[in-house]
């Protein structure tokens, strides 16, 4: 039984219908790829519809997810957020992330574990009707419901301004985001310092034509 159903069974208030409706919407935003695709703008929706329903791009090369030539196929920007929110490292740490570059259909995300100890740069290709079921090396899918924990735009204060950015989001999406308290209490502390290699990678993106 999904977490949503469990929540529904436990509800006790007199606002059952409203809660029911909101939970349905929330579930669709987080899990229903067709619904996610219906939220896309016309241009992106057309590109997504034209894309291949694949786990990895044909003729791709390099490490899956880590190489711009072998990005992770996902369904639009919301698909990227859903995919990355489901990832956890082998040591069980989930990711905070933001989009820091783009070139054609490829989006670059800088990611950091909730503890701030490990930083990653991942490449995703957003013009596909569904999300890949493949995983980049060193990651696994989280078994439980993955509240969103990242953004499709960039901020210099990432991830310390997490809550402020969540507050500015569309109401339909906002509810799907993890609260700051759920992120382990590290945000705001000075534990999020990008290592030199990570800075260098962000700089090097320009060399590969990412803007």
């Amino acid at each position: 039984m999904s977490v949503f159903k469990q929540l529904l069974n436990r509800r006790m208030s007199d606002q059952e219908d409203r809660l029911n409706h909101e939970l349905d919407n929330l579930q669709r935003v987080m899990e229903d790829e067709a619904f996610q695709n219906s939220l896309l703008d016309d241009k992106t929706a057309a590109e997504v519809a034209r894309g291949d329903s694949v786990d990895a791009l044909v003729m791709s090369s390099g490490a899956f997810g880590f190489d711009p030539e072998n990005p992770i196929p996902v369904n639009g920007p919301l698909g990227a957020v859903t995919y990355l929110s489901r990832l956890k490292t082998h040591s069980g740490e989930r990711l905070l992330f933001q989009c820091v570059g783009r070139k054609d259909g490829v989006r670059v995300f800088e990611c950091v574990t909730y503890s701030g100890r490990r930083w990653f740069v991942l490449f995703l290709h957003i013009y596909h009707p569904r999300k890949s079921t493949f995983l980049p090396d060193g990651f696994e899918f989280s078994g439980d419901v993955a509240m969103f924990s990242g953004f499709v735009d960039a901020s210099l204060d990432f991830p310390k301004d997490y809550q402020q950015r969540v507050d500015k989001l569309d109401d339909r999406i906002k509810a799907a985001y993890a609260t700051q308290a759920r992120l382990g209490g590290n945000i705001g502390a000075s534990s999020f310092v990008r290592p030199l290699a990570h800075w260098a990678k962000l700089d090097a993106l320009a060399v590969r034509g990412f803007r």
């Binding site: 067709a34 519809a49 034209r50 291949d52 329903s53 694949v54 786990d55 990895a56 044909v58 390099g62 490490a63 899956f64 880590f66 190489d67 711009p68 072998n70 740069v121 009707p129 569904r130 079921t133 493949f134 995983l135 980049p136 090396d137 290592p195 030199l196 290699a197 800075w199 260098a200 990678k201 700089d203 090097a204 993106l205 320009a206 060399v207 590969r208």
Partner: protein, 343 residues
């Protein structure tokens, strides 16, 4: 950082240049200083503030594999690349051979017999016996049986997840533990590609009539499954059909144009000849419609529709011409009817 020289555009590539570039960008760094440092490669330009520890940190950072890859510095020697590819090829070969060995008892099964089997076998065995039977019977079985077999293979291949692949590799004695995630991805892709190739080769033995019926049904099946994900094998097969069909449709449309031109230029005295040309045109367009049918529910239909509209317009012109200039009512009516059929 990693910008080019202001004078010659040269980008830092050597370890020292990259390290300087990184240090300058992180610890002092204006674009001009950076470009000057790269241009002059002079120790005087290097920032004085960078301690030995900082320099060491920069050198360590530049060893990061992903960073080197982004900077396109990974000149991995072929000797290191080859074993990776060879290892995947070797495991793939082992996987196929093991599956073939498991299927020896089904060697004499026909396609329809395979489709009736309800025994519980692994997706690998199920696919192998279906593909073997498909190849043997492709020329003789019905389009329905072909569709059923192909959809079955597509569904089975879709159902194979990472866990199933690793389980199967363990069973057939291949060491999956030594394979990296990207190698396992390569292995999955190699398997999907081999399925596609085998189906395409088998379909070469299918008559054109059956082939068109098969793809019309596959197209309808994909349409019915719209609520679900399109099976990659079906999508790839449709793509193969589209490529070939569009080439035939364009070629035949150009032949139709030639026939219409001949009808237009034939003299009034050649009424019988015009009739023969029109009969040929009718049968050509009948075939054209059949080949186009599986594509009608597809985005490529835009192309088909474009050719169709052009043909239709030309046919209507011919009908008008025959009526107005040559008073050939019956030929004009046939041309007009053809234009209507294409609508």
């Amino acid at each position: 950082m990693f910008a080019g020289c202001n004078h010659c555009g040269a980008k830092p590539t050597q370890a020292g240049e990259l390290s300087d570039s990184l240090l300058l960008s992180r610890f002092s760094a204006t674009e001009e200083q950076l470009a000057q440092a790269i241009s002059e490669r002079s120790p005087k330009v290097l920032i004085q503030a960078a301690s030995a520890a900082t320099r060491e940190a920069a050198a360590t950072a530049l060893e990061d594999e992903q960073l080197r890859n982004l900077l396109q510095l990974n000149t991995e020697p072929m000797a290191q690349v080859r074993p990776k590819k060879e290892r995947v090829a070797e495991v793939f070969d082992q996987l196929l051979r093991s599956t073939e060995a498991e299927c020896t008892q089904y060697r004499d099964f026909g396609l329809e017999q395979c489709l009736l089997q309800s025994d519980s076998v692994s997706p690998w065995v199920s696919n192998e016996r279906l593909l073997t039977a498909l190849h043997g019977d492709a020329h003789s079985v019905s389009a329905d049986a072909l569709v059923e077999a192909i959809i079955d293979v597509a569904e089975k291949s879709q159902s194979i997840g990472r866990a199933e692949l690793q389980r199967h590799l363990r069973e057939c004695g291949a060491s999956s533990a030594s394979l990296q995630t990207d190698e396992l991805n390569d292995l999955e892709r190699a398997y999907d590609k081999s399925l596609l190739n085998r189906v395409v080769v088998s379909l070469e033995r299918v008559s054109t009539e059956h082939l068109i019926a098969l793809f019309t049904r596959l197209s309808a099946a994909q349409e019915r499954r719209r609520d679900k994900q399109v099976l990659p094998l079906l999508k790839e097969l449709s793509r193969v059909y589209k490529t070939h069909a569009m080439s035939v449709l364009r070629h035949e449309a150009s032949n139709a144009g030639r026939l219409m031109s001949a009808i237009r230029t034939s003299s009034t005295a050649e009424l019988e000849f015009s009739g023969v040309l029109l009969t040929t045109l009718e049968s050509l367009l009948d075939n054209w419609q059949k080949v186009a049918r599986p594509l009608t529910k597809d985005p490529v239909d835009q192309d088909v529709a474009g050719i169709r509209r052009a043909l239709q317009s030309e046919l209507q012109d011919i009908a008008d011409y025959l009526l107005e200039h040559r008073s050939e009512d019956s030929l004009s009516a046939r041309a007009s009817q053809l234009a209507l059929v294409l609508m």
